[in-house]
Symmetry: C2
Subunit: 305 residues, 2 copies
Amino acid sequence: MKALVIGGCGFIGSHVVDNLLANGVSVRVLDRRPEMYRPPLPGVEYVMCDLSDTAQIFEALVGVDAVIHLASTTVPATSNMDPAADITGNLIAMVRLLEVMREANVKKMVYLSSGGTVYGVPQMDPVPENHPLNPISSYGIVKIAIENYLFMEHQLHGLQHVVLRASNPYGPRQGHTGTQGIIGTYLWKLARGEQIEVWGDGSVVRDYIHVSDLAGLCHTALTSDVSGVFNAGSSEGASVNDIVGHIRNTVGGDITPAYKPGRGFDVPRVVLDVTKAKTQLGWQKQTTLGQGIEDTWAWVQEQSG
Amino acid sequence: MKALVIGGCGFIGSHVVDNLLANGVSVRVLDRRPEMYRPPLPGVEYVMCDLSDTAQIFEALVGVDAVIHLASTTVPATSNMDPAADITGNLIAMVRLLEVMREANVKKMVYLSSGGTVYGVPQMDPVPENHPLNPISSYGIVKIAIENYLFMEHQLHGLQHVVLRASNPYGPRQGHTGTQGIIGTYLWKLARGEQIEVWGDGSVVRDYIHVSDLAGLCHTALTSDVSGVFNAGSSEGASVNDIVGHIRNTVGGDITPAYKPGRGFDVPRVVLDVTKAKTQLGWQKQTTLGQGIEDTWAWVQEQSG
């Protein structure tokens, strides 16, 4: 089997590629830039281009059995600043990609959606896949529209598709610019000898998934015959204070966060129900939060050393 | 009160304008073309431009209290042919319009969505507003994304918004090109002495709403303080054979349809539950299907005479 991994040089993508190679899948990567923390991997074909370049995309699809699409031009926090650009860069790019896949006769896609933004403020705990969709960011709105175009492509043209609504992935190779999640941000700050910051009282609860578990789920989805939407999280909540506690255990020394005023847009608790991925895909996470933070800290130290 | 009616020269728009004028609302119309069947109305300001022209839109919003947005560049049957154009013409146009409304400090919008496409294949009968959204056309996907941006604008910037998910509007001034609904199409064909056509056995059931009832609901929504999503239909199903029966009663003579093979994409039955509009907005339809077809036939004859 040969897979095209769109966004394969990003944080999540790099782990998906590792997992596929370990499982004997041939990998072609399409991305705008090379990996930030590693040289090109032996045995992987790289195509450097933008998703708007449909001619190159078509070429990149030749000989491919399935696409794993992990790329996004926006992050939740910035998507509302320019919704038109969010729509053009992600939604229009997706409908064009689906057209090109139809021409190239590629019949399967695994797509990374967002468990943190599509549901809006949770009315259930944990949140199952059939929870109402009330997004309050352009990022979440566009993810839902993309999911709907995938469903339509399935209904009208038989595309097999697995949508993974991921919670908060963390782990080695996560960027340290502060937009990609608090675990990486905190560990990088500590490695640089800076104080970490907590918005509010640290009680905000989220669901964290180790990136290698998410990569494993992408591979499981790739090889499954099931189509549909699946939450991809841990089913367990961790507060910011829990994270700080785990980090204190791992890093050692005196870690005292600076507490800042809470942000109005943070909902108190979002934890995903992953029963469907367990029962229908037979997937199970392997890494506890404590192990995952140790693993990430080891990588951050290696980078900083 | 002054309202800007976007799409105010179209089939539905022309009736909304009539209703607003009769209720003492000042009306400015923004559309790409003048009305097809009437000269410009006295007392109405017309702005002829495209929704992509944000400078003109901003000017058209000066002095306006609310927007009624009825325009669409696509219809359900054609939207799948070019989803990227559907997204650009409708969704991106909407997020730009919301930005301009924010700048112009216009705090209310009534938006015409689609009860026939957002739900997909109904799992309930009649279909309430909280039915799962499983669209299988680009038209329906884009309508849902627009609804979500309206909800977001409400949550983040306080926009009052009423979304009307209309069933199948019919009545005088509906186009006769065959894309806007069977009642108009059938009556125009009969006026020209042509045979009418039925796809399948005529058992497909839909919910029809007279355009003057929909216009009344737009005015009710405009003057209400409620925000939210409302089905706009009759709560009653009529089969194609029922329609043919009503038309036979109204038109008289020997009306024998030509029965053609059924179309795979027609779901058997879609009827909207309009309890929410009745209870929360105090709205009630006035026109029975029989009366509405008589009324439409009178107009078609007048045009053909």
